[in-house]
Amino acid sequence: MQQIIEFINNNLQIVYIIILATFVGVELIKSIPAVLHTPLMSGANALSGVVIVGAILVMLHSNPTDYLALALGFVAVVLGILNVVGGFAVTNRMLEMFKKKK
């Protein structure tokens, strides 16, 4: 218990951000027509590719002779960017089709 309180106290800013961002996420999605669920899910999926930032940091911080870390970081960057580019591109392709005919 002591440790949990200590953790919260040490990371108060992060705890606040997590709580607020959770509510923002909920509010953003709350009243969305079912029509847009698929593109939305796909778009959110692309956003979760933000993990690539961490993958890049891994590579920037690794020692050039630490081949294991570099190799893992390399794969992590490839997979992360796949998620980002593929996700946004597919979402865009879906939404292209929603154009209204005049």
């Binding site: 996420g25 890049i56 490839v78 992360g80 796949l82 593929g86 996700g87 209204k100």
Partner: protein, 463 residues
């Protein structure tokens, strides 16, 4: 962290929020996606170039190659894939994101001097590995199930208990490693394997009809994994971006469950397949079916005033979205009032059917959502059900013993005539009989959706 990078991350975070917001309205969705993508690009470029580390050129080169390779592959897959394959593609991309998070966790575990770092850091690293691994293998499993590569729905007694004991063991191991400040790589790999196996176990027993819910849930989990890695680096754009996806994903998951009138628990722990057995005995009480031909259907539609088309996954499988648009145009040309009735979970994902029909240039305004179209079935002369089954099953209204009882459905039985196009009398994804097919107002038009609709179109053209 430099001020410039902090500001870039701040901008990127705002674009994520604005992007998600705009994705929620048909008119602004496209720009919302582009805004979020631009923010993401900014964050990536900023991360690579703005820092005060001494980074050898070789590492920059490697990062460049990795980004180029991944971006090209991702782009090609995204542009080439058929629209019907959309749900599994989202699942696949999601799995990659999860794998990326797991790999980051592994590397950071090696870097961190576990004895020196705080317990909370160790928990963070370990949970990134576990959650990343679960989303990776779970998403691949969902992908395999949706495209038919993995067929078996394993049902063994006490499956859930085994599953839960397993994940508790994995969490227990992580807790043990944290408490004891143990940095043995073997145990980390054990955790990784544990996460991977759990992902498979978790998705394995869930039926295909529930796969969208699972994908949405896994998508949410990837967001959480990204947020956890954000905590690791004290990186705000990862933290906020991840949490946004995590919470939005949960809401989306719940919305999908609601559309099917199921609880998240019943999806995860399964109940659909329970009644899959014994449809043969039921047929006898349901009566007989009536078959019809393309020309009879064409005549009926030609003289109708209101026609409602109910598209289902069978339409997508047969790639018949273009033919159905042609049919709709011909009918409209003949002065028939045509509408599409879109069930929230028609297809394999909510909104999937809209995307498919939009692909073949069906006007957005002609797609009517369930709550708006249901009162209109009373006035419909002909309802054409193409490859849909469970979403038009009246058992949802009047058979309390049915596993889909209580699920909102399209009330097609209120129409004057119902034509159902199906390949065979095979049950739908829920694996249950549909008494609609035995209704005296219903005629069955057997055959592949594309072939049947093409016949229908040529019959109508000749009239």
């Amino acid at each position: 962290m430099s001020v410039a990078l902090s500001i870039i991350y701040l901008i990127a975070t705002v674009t994520f929020i604005v992007g998600l917001k705009r994705l929620g309205h048909p008119d602004t969705a496209k720009s919302g996606n582009l805004i979020a993508a631009a923010g993401m690009g900014l964050a990536i470029v900023g991360t690579i170039f703005i820092h005060d580390l001494e980074v050898p050129t070789i590492i920059y080169a490697l990062i460049g190659i990795a980004i180029l390779v991944g971006a090209i592959i991702g782009w090609l897959i995204a542009v080439k894939v058929e629209m019907t394959k959309m749900p599994e593609l989202v699942s696949l991309f999601n799995g990659f994101g999860g794998a990326s998070a797991a790999l980051i966790g592994i590397v950071e575990f090696g870097n961190a001097d576990i004895q020196a770092t705080s317990a909370s850091m160790v928990i963070t690293v370990l949970s990134a590995v576990i959650i990343g691994a679960i989303t990776f293998s779970g998403s691949l499993m969902a992908w395999g199930k949706l495209n038919g590569k993995v067929k078996s729905v394993i049902k063994i007694p006490q499956y859930n208990i085994i599953n839960n004991v397993f994940i508790i063991a994995v969490i227990g191991l992580a807790a043990y490693m944290t408490a004891g400040s143990i940095d043995t790589p073997v145990l980390l790999y054990a955790l990784l394997v544990g996460g991977l196996v759990y992902g498979i176990l978790f998705v394995m027993p869930i039926g295909g009809a529930d796969m969208p819910v699972v994908i949405s849930l896994l998508n949410s989990l990837t967001g959480i994994a990204a947020a956890i890695t954000g905590v690791l680096y004290d990186n705000m754009v990862m933290l906020v971006g991840g949490i946004l996806v995590g919470s939005a994903g949960i809401i989306l998951t719940v919305a999908m469950c609601k559309a099917m009138n199921r609880t998240l628990a019943s999806v995860i722990f399964g109940s659909f397949s329970a009644s899959a057995s014994g449809p043969e005995g039921v047929n006898k009480t349901l009566g007989t079916i009536k078959t019809t031909t393309a020309s009879d259907t064409a005549i009926m539609m030609n003289y109708a005033t209101n026609v409602i088309i109910v598209p289902g996954y069978g339409l997508a499988v047969a790639q018949a979205q273009h033919v159905i648009h042609e049919l709709e145009e011909i009918l409209t040309g003949k002065g028939v009032n045509v509408k599409y009735a879109i069930h929230p979970v028609a297809g394999r994902m909510p909104g999937h059917m809209n995307v498919l029909l939009a692909e073949s240039n069906v006007e957005y305004d002609m797609l009517v959502e369930m709550d708006d179209i249901n009162p209109q079935f009373n006035n419909a002369d002909v309802v054409l059900v193409v490859g849909a089954n469970d979403v038009v099953n009246p058992a949802a209204h009047n058979d309390p013993s049915s596993p889909i009882y209580g699920m909102p459905i399209l009330d097609v039985e209120n129409a004057k005539h119902i034509v159902v196009n199906k390949r065979s009398m095979k049950a739908g994804y829920a694996g249950i009989e549909n008494e609609l097919f035995y209704n005296s107002k219903t005629s069955m038009l057997f055959g592949d959706a594309k072939a049947a609709l093409t016949d229908l179109v040529s019959e109508l053209k000749g009239m």
